[in-house]
Amino acid sequence: MDIRKPNVTILQPTSGADRVRSEQSKPVAEFSRPLLLSPGQDLLGYVTGHLGRGTLFVITLVSVLAVFLIFWFVIREAIPFLKGESLGQTIARLTEFLTGKNWYPEAHVHPEFGALPAIVGSVYVTAVALVLSVPVGLLCALFLSDMAPFSIRQAIKPVIEILAAIPSVAYGFFAIIVVAPWLQHTFGFSTGANALNAAMILAIMAVPTIISVAEDSLSAIGREIREASYALGATRAETLLKVVIPAAHSGIIAAIILGMMRAIGETMVVWMAAGMASQIPSPWWDLSQSVRPMTATIAQEMGETARGTVHYYALFAIGCVLLIFTFGMNLISEHFMARIHRREGGR
C-alpha cells in the first residue's frame, strides 16, 4: 500500500500539478519542461502510458485465459461421455460413473464405467498420506518457527526445499524399486506396490508444502501473544498448543489443504507405486491392498485409447472430477489464506 502512494499523487497530473504549482510561488530550479504534464500537454506519453498498461493487462490475462481454456477443454471432452439422449439418461450415466464399482472400459459387449474405485482410491491414499504427514509437518513447522535457533533454521530450510524439489517420478522410482521390495520382504505383503507404499511416498511429498505454509502462518503470529503466554507461566508446549496453534489455525488449515492438493493431484507416484488394481480396499483398513487412484487411471489408459471413443471421453470425465475437486479445495484454501492476510493487514 505505502509503496504506491507517492506515484498515485504524481500520476494525477491535472490537479496535483496545479496544486504543486500554486504552492510554489517561484520555481526553485529551471526545468526545460514542466515536471508533470497534463494529458493535453503530453498526448503521446499519455496514450502510450495507457496503451502500455493495457498491453500489460492483456498479457496478465493469459493466466486467466489458460484457466478458462483448461476448464473449457477438459469439460468439453467429458460432455460426450455424460450426455445421454434425455435428461434421465444423463443422470443415469452420471450415477453409474460416480457410484459404479466396475471399470471395464474396453469390454466389447457391455463396457462399464464405474469410477468409484478410482475416486475412493484417490481419497484413500490421500487420507493416509495426510495422517502420516500432518503431524510430522506441523511439528517441523513448530520447531522451525518457535524452537530452532537461526543457524539451525538456515540449515534445515535447504533440506525441505530439496525434498520439495525432487521430481515426482524420482519418488515413484524410489517407491517401486526400493520401497516395494522392502515392504514385501519385511511385512510379507503379497505385493509391495500397494496403498501403503503410495501413501508413504505421498506423505514425504506433502510434508514440505505443509511445513512452508504452516511455518509462514505460525511466524505471522506475533511475539506479543507468545510472550503473554510465557509470562503467565505456561510451558513452551502449552504456549504452542493452546495459544499459538489456535491463533494460527486458518494458516494451518490452508497448509493441510495445500498438502492434500499436492497428494491428490500427484500422478507418477501413485501410478508406479499404488499397484494399479481398480478396486475398493476391503476391509477398508487393509493398507496392503493395491488401489488405482484417478490420476493413475488417466495416466495408464489415456496412452492406449483412441481419440473420440467413449473410453477417451470417460477418462476426461475423471479428469473433470479431479479438476473440480482441486478447484474446490483451492477456493477453500484461498478463503483461509485471505483470513491470514486480513489479520496481517489489520494488525
Binding site: 517420478v169 500427484e266 500422478t267 484461498e334
Partner: protein
C-alpha cells in the same frame, strides 16, 4: 508440575525428532538412487564393455581390441570345447543316427568296391554286430552294461584297422565310454537339461560364441560388460538356483546348489573352479569413468549406452517452455505489483493464478492432449513445451511478484523523483534490483519443469525413438524415461545400473538447478545483510 515439564520436554523432543526424521528421509530417498546411479558412470569395465564401446560408439583402437579379444577367446576356447564334447557325448539320438548312417555307408562302399560275395557277407555281418553292440550301449540306461558293451566294441577295433569308414564307430565308442564312465546314462536327460542351463548362463556371461552368427538384438551381442555384472552372472554358471519347499505350508526357500556338485565325476567338474579362478583374466576388468554416459545415445531398451537424447530432450522441452513462460510471468507479476490494487478484476486474476497453480499435473496433460496436440496436429515437442509453460507460469508469477515487491520503495521513489518515467523506472531500477529474486524463481521453476512427467505423457514424450529433427517431432525425455525404465522389468533384471543411472541423471540435473538457486539467494541475502 513435573508432568507439565515432562510433557514440554516430550513435545520439544518430538518436534526436533520430526525434523531429524525429515533429514533422514532425504538421505534415505536420495542416497540409494544417487549412490547406485553413480554406478552407471564409475564402474569396472570388462573386455566386453570395450568391445561394445567399439562396436556401437566407435571408441578405442581396433588393433588393441582385436588383440584383447583374441587373448580372451583363446582362454575361452578350451571351455567351449570341453562343454561341446560333453554335450555330444550325452546326445544319444544324434550318435545313434550317425551309427546307423556309418553302417549304411559302409555297405554301400563295400558294394562299390565289388567285394566278393562271401567276404561281403562276412564283413557286413561283423559291422552289423558292432553297430548293434554300439546301439545297445547307447540305448541302455545301465552304466556297467554300457561300459562293457563299448569295451566289446573297442576290442574289435584291431580287426578293422584297414577300414577307414568304420574308424568313426570306434571314435564314437571311445568318446561314449569316457562320458559313461563319468555319468550314469540313466540320468542323461537331466544332464542335458542342466547343460542347457549352463550354456545359457555362459551366453549371458561371455556373450555369443565367436563361431556363431551375431544375434540381431544389440542387448544379446555382448557378454557381461561390467565387473559387477560378471560377478552376478557367474553365480548362475557356478550355482543352480532352486526354490524348494522344505516344510509343507511354508513359502519356498531359495537354495544354491553348486554346479560342480551336479556335474561331479564328469570332465566338466574341474572347469567350474577353473572359471572362478580365471575370472579376472577372462574379463580383464579395469576402472572406468564413463562420463560419456550423459551424452551417449542408447541401444533400444536402454541396455547399453547413455542418456544423451533424454537429457537433450528434457533441456529442449524445458528451455522452450521457459522462453514462453518467463516473459509472460514477469510481465504479469509487474502488472500485479504496479497496477494491482484490490479491485474485483485483480482478485479474479489472482484466483485464476492460484487455480492454475493447483491444477493437477495430469490435467495439464489432458488439456495439452485436447488443445495443443490438436493445434499442432500431433504430439510434439512444441505441444509438450507449451503444456509445461502453462504449468510453470503461476510459479514464475508468484516468485517474480514477491521479488518485485521486496525491492525497497525508496529505490522507486528516488528514480521517480529524478524524473524517470514509470516504464524507465521499472526497467532500470526495479527490475535489476529484483533480478536475483526473479532468477531464483525462474531456476526453481526450470527444475520443476524438468522433472514433471504427467504433462508430457500424452503431448510429446516417448520412451524409445529417434532423435527429434524438428520441433514438430516427439522426443525422449528424462522423467518419462525414468518411468519407462523403472516399470520395464527386463532392463531392471539385467542392467539395474541403467535404471539407477537414468534417475540419477534426472536428480542431478534438478538438484544442480536448485543448488544454483539456493546459491544465488544466499549471495543476495548476504549482500542485503551487508548494507
Amino acid at each position: 508440575m513435573m508432568l507439565r515439564m515432562l510433557f514440554d520436554k516430550l513435545f520439544t523432543g518430538s518436534a526436533a525428532g520430526s525434523v531429524g526424521l525429515l533429514c533422514l528421509l532425504l538421505i534415505v530417498v536420495l542416497g540409494p538412487m544417487v549412490w547406485r546411479g553413480m554406478g552407471a558412470v564409475v564402474f569396472r569395465e570388462t573386455v566386453e564393455f570395450r568391445k561394445m564401446q567399439h562396436a556401437i560408439f566407435g571408441r578405442g583402437s581396433q588393433a588393441e581390441i582385436l588383440r584383447e579379444t583374441e587373448q580372451v577367446d583363446g582362454l575361452r576356447k578350451p571351455i567351449y570345447d570341453t562343454f561341446d564334447s560333453f554335450a555330444q557325448g550325452i546326445d544319444v539320438d544324434k550318435q545313434l543316427d550317425r551309427v546307423r548312417e556309418i553302417y549304411r555307408e559302409y555297405g554301400d562302399s563295400l558294394r562299390q568296391r565289388n567285394t566278393p560275395a562271401d567276404e561281403f557277407t562276412q564283413l557286413r555281418s561283423t559291422a552289423k554286430t558292432i553297430r548293434d553292440r554300439l546301439t545297445e550301449a547307447l540305448e541302455t540306461v545301465d552304466q556297467s552294461e554300457a561300459i562293457s558293451l563299448t569295451l566289446q566294441v573297442l576290442e574289435m577295433e584291431i580287426n578293422f584297422a584297414g577300414e577307414p569308414q568304420l574308424a568313426e564307430f570306434f571314435e564314437i565308442a571311445r568318446r561314449y565310454k569316457k562320458t559313461v564312465e563319468g555319468i550314469d546314462p540313466g540320468h542323461r536327460q537331466e544332464y542335458a537339461e542342466l547343460l542347457r542351463e549352463v550354456r545359457d548362463a555362459m551366453n549371458t556371461l561371455f556373450g555369443p560364441r565367436p563361431d556363431q552368427p551375431k544375434p540381431p538384438l544389440a542387448e544379446h551381442q555382448f557378454g557381461a560388460t561390467r565387473w559387477d555384472l560378471v560377478q552376478r552372472d557367474v553365480r548362475f554358471l557356478l550355482y543352480d538356483e532352486q526354490w524348494v519347499q522344505e516344510t509343507p505350508g511354508q513359502p519356498l526357500q531359495k537354495k544354491l546348489i553348486p554346479r560342480k556338485q551336479q556335474f561331479a565325476g564328469t570332465e566338466l567338474e574341474g572347469w567350474f573352479d577353473q572359471i572362478e579362478l580365471d575370472l579376472k583374466s577372462l574379463f580383464r576388468p579395469r576402472l572406468r569413468i564413463y562420463w560419456q554416459y550423459f551424452f551417449d545415445d542408447s541401444t533400444p531398451g536402454h541396455f547399453f549406452g547413455g542418456v544423451g537424447p533424454e537429457i537433450l530432450g528434457t533441456l529442449l522441452l524445458t528451455l522452450l517452455a521457459m522462453v514462453v513462460a518467463i516473459p509472460l510471468g514477469i510481465i504479469s507479476a509487474a502488472y500485479l505489483v504496479e497496477y494491482g490494487g484490490d479491485t474485483f478484476i485483480i482478485r479474479i486474476i489472482r484466483t485464476c493464478i492460484n487455480t492454475l497453480a493447483g491444477v493437477p499435473s495430469i490435467v495439464f496433460g489432458l488439456f495439452g492432449l485436447a488443445f495443443f496436440v490438436i493445434l499442432f496436429g500431433r504430439p510434439c515437442i512444441l505441444a509438450a513445451a507449451m503444456t509445461l509453460a502453462l504449468l510453470v507460469l503461476p510459479v514464475i508469477i508468484r516468485a517474480s511478484e514477491e521479488a518485485i515487491r521486496a525491492v525497497p520503495s525508496t529505490y522507486k521513489e528516488a528514480s521517480l523523483s529524478l524524473g524517470a518515467g514509470r516504464f524507465r523506472t521499472f526497467m532500470t531500477v526495479i527490475l535489476p534490483a529484483a533480478m536475483p529474486g526473479i532468477l531464483t524463481g525462474i531456476i526453481l521453476s526450470l527444475s520443476r519443469a524438468a522433472g514433471e512427467t504427467a504433462p508430457i505423457l500424452f503431448t510429446g514424450a516417448v520412451f524409445l525413438g529417434p532423435m527429434p529433427r524438428s520441433l514438430l517431432d516427439s522426443t525422449r525425455a528424462l522423467p518419462y524415461g525414468v518411468h519407462g525404465i523403472a516399470t520395464g522389468d527386463k532392463v531392471g533384471m539385467t542392467m539395474p545400473h541403467q535404471q539407477y543411472g537414468m534417475v540419477m541423471a534426472l536428480i542431478v540435473l534438478v538438484l544442480l538447478l536448485n543448488f544454483l538457486a539456493i546459491g544465488i539467494r544466499w549471495r543476495v541475502s548476504k549482500k542485503l545483510r551487508g548494507y
